[in-house]
Symmetry: C2
Subunit: 385 residues, 2 copies
């Protein structure tokens, strides 16, 4: 391929870099000097667009500190548009540019599948926090695994974390956590945005979590012959979804046949964020013969459900439930009011009904990946113990 284009981009990028306290975000493509994060967590972004009439920054999430709604960027004489945001909330945030009203990815950013498209993202450091950093500890692998689904009669791709010791201890068998992304995201999210592999590496290396396999699938399924979609499905509506059939009928049997798993219910967990949290509750609570560890991260829970009938009556007999389920865990960020209220209401209702469950709130974070990284970091150590 021709090299002129990206070389000149690179040279522009280097020329842009100023002698200040800012550094290129680690979410950038290799060599890109912008976006840059300042010591006080302000973020500076740039785009060269000499012929545009208006260029704006659109953060792709709620209350992440980057600002709200489209924010106008300022044009310099050379046609470069720039903006520096207020100090951002630490963590990963989606964003895009609006160039004369057209949403476009930042060519200087890596892409992260979210909002049903390949989105730009900015990683804002959380000073003093390193539980999701790539540290000098043994690293597990994330395996891109293709398999054929009977349910959809199509190839599916799963991302599968195997702990660092997996290929060394060739006789050991491992428990499995099924870990789902949110609406508009896919099987890559927990690795690329969530850094789940590094979280698990660090927990396992520190003796805080048991070595486990983590299966990250795509939370979508369409009937044979139909086109793939990212239409949300099975978010706890009480209706079994086609995705549920894939998990129960295709995915779990494939995983147990392919990897050295412990395949009984005592060694199988499921968790998910947002849509994936709803899917988790729906799938696990209606298949308690298969799962005994359950995590709901920022799921869209409605209060006022009848606990006698919800989820096919899973909660109807609290004593039986408590005996059967080792962990039922709800998390939400303090910055996401609806999800927080829903999780708290569910937690309280279950407590009142005598059903053991854990509630965790992530301080200062909204419906964002930083909440879910913390959820995983709190949830995983409790599993399989």
């Amino acid at each position: 391929m021709r090299r002129t284009t990206f070389l000149s981009l690179l040279i522009c990028g280097i020329a842009w870099a100023q002698a200040d306290d800012s550094r290129p975000a680690i979410s950038n493509v290799r060599g890109a000097q912008y976006p840059r994060v300042h010591a006080d967590l302000r973020v500076s972004l740039r785009l060269k667009a000499p012929d545009a009439k208006k260029v704006q920054l659109q953060p792709g999430g709620d209350d992440n500190g980057l600002g709200h709604g489209p924010m106008d960027m300022i044009r310099a004489d050379d046609g470069t548009w720039s903006i520096t945001t207020p100090p951002a909330v630490p963590g990963f945030h989606y964003y895009w540019f609006l160039v004369d009203g057209v949403a476009m990815s930042d060519p200087a950013s890596e892409t992260y599948f979210g909002w049903g498209k390949e989105c730009s993202g900015i990683e804002v450091p959380d000073n003093g926090v390193d539980f999701y950093a790539a540290k000098d500890v043994p690293h597990g692998e994330v395996r891109i695994h293709w398999y054929s689904s009977k349910t959809t009669q199509a190839w599916r791709r799963a991302y599968i974390y195997t702990p660092a010791e997996y290929d060394r201890k060739t006789r050991a068998r491992y428990p499995v956590l099924y870990l789902q992304h949110g609406a508009g995201e896919d099987e890559r999210g927990w690795t690329n945005q969530g850094r789940a592999n590094f979280i698990l590496d660090n927990l396992i290396a520190g003796g805080k979590a048991k070595p486990m396999i983590v299966v990250m699938e795509q939370g979508y399924a369409t009937p044979p012959g139909e086109a793939q979609t990212t239409t949300p499905q099975g978010r706890g509506t009480g209706q079994p979804s086609l995705f549920e059939q894939v998990v129960v009928g295709d995915l779990i049997p494939m995983i147990d046949a392919t990897y050295r798993t412990r395949s009984d219910r005592d060694h199988r967990a499921m968790a998910g964020l947002s849509m994936g949290g709803g899917q988790t509750l729906q799938i696990t609570l209606t298949h308690l013969n298969m799962f005994s560890w359950i995590g709901s991260f920022s799921a869209p829970l409605r209060g006022g459900q009848d606990l006698k009938t919800a989820y096919s009556g899973a909660f109807a007999d609290p004593a039986a439930f408590n005996k059967q389920v080792h962990l039922l865990w709800f998390g939400a960020g303090t910055g996401e009011e609806r999800m927080l209220k829903g999780a708290l209401a569910m937690h309280d209702a279950l407590e009142k009904a005598g059903i053991k469950n854990v509630f965790y709130q992530s301080p200062g974070t909204a419906h964002e990946w930083q909440t879910w990284r913390r959820d995983l970091n709190e949830f995983a150590p409790l599993l399989f113990k």
Copy 2:
């Protein structure tokens, strides 16, 4: 995350789909109805940009049939811009849109790292050709593997193909092919653009290639403390590059320590495309104690080199070279004049000097991934035999 945006995108997409012979490209994001490929391989692309003054399509390669230079798209009353290209060359092609002169990715396309950025791509079917299709055969995995480099003192990410049988035959050891991408691309290219995993799956399942491990690394390296770049390096200039030090000093020892490899030179191959072809020749020919199978795919070769002194004198003793090297292989597409001429000149000069080598030309394809898929499909069956 909010679901309104991508749902409305989806609904727009469905409304666009017309009752003709075209189908959504498999390179699209899930559910996107455009770009569409017609039966005669014309490609239709769309972008909604009501406020733009001009929207153009820019193919990101040479002679792939999509057309040359920026091509104007036509505005409909609803602000949707569209274009249908002439029949395209089969295979994978990079492209982007120019919206009032600003290069932007197509939000309906998956992204493919090329041109130093996350690029849009279009997969045009090659009718009757299925060597790179996901077929109903055992599939290997592509493992995302992080490791620490002594040379750069930074974490590096490699993509590693293990054959389908790897986890079943736990005592078997495998030969290794190191397989490099081109300039502006990275370790993901051979999987996402090249479909190397499916090519190997099909060859191995058909008994045409030996089961092997394929290591796909990033062809860049910067000194400790320096920012990562995509600056091309070590493309056969005769100078050892820092990337070469990474391969020889960090990557190969890590692979041999981590995977069940056969670690002698008879079971180690290297190949690469374009920049990666140059890197391959440089690294293998100056380390013949480590490699005995060599593939150069569309490398930028200059004719008129002195074979006595080129590559530290690797060719100086033809008889010794022929005894030592099991395969020296050059490929190029008939549609890429410079690379074809260079490869042919090298082939002829080596033949004249009595050095055994293979020359392959890919009919009708240019400096494009279809050439390199075919290269791999021709090259891999010759290895380790």
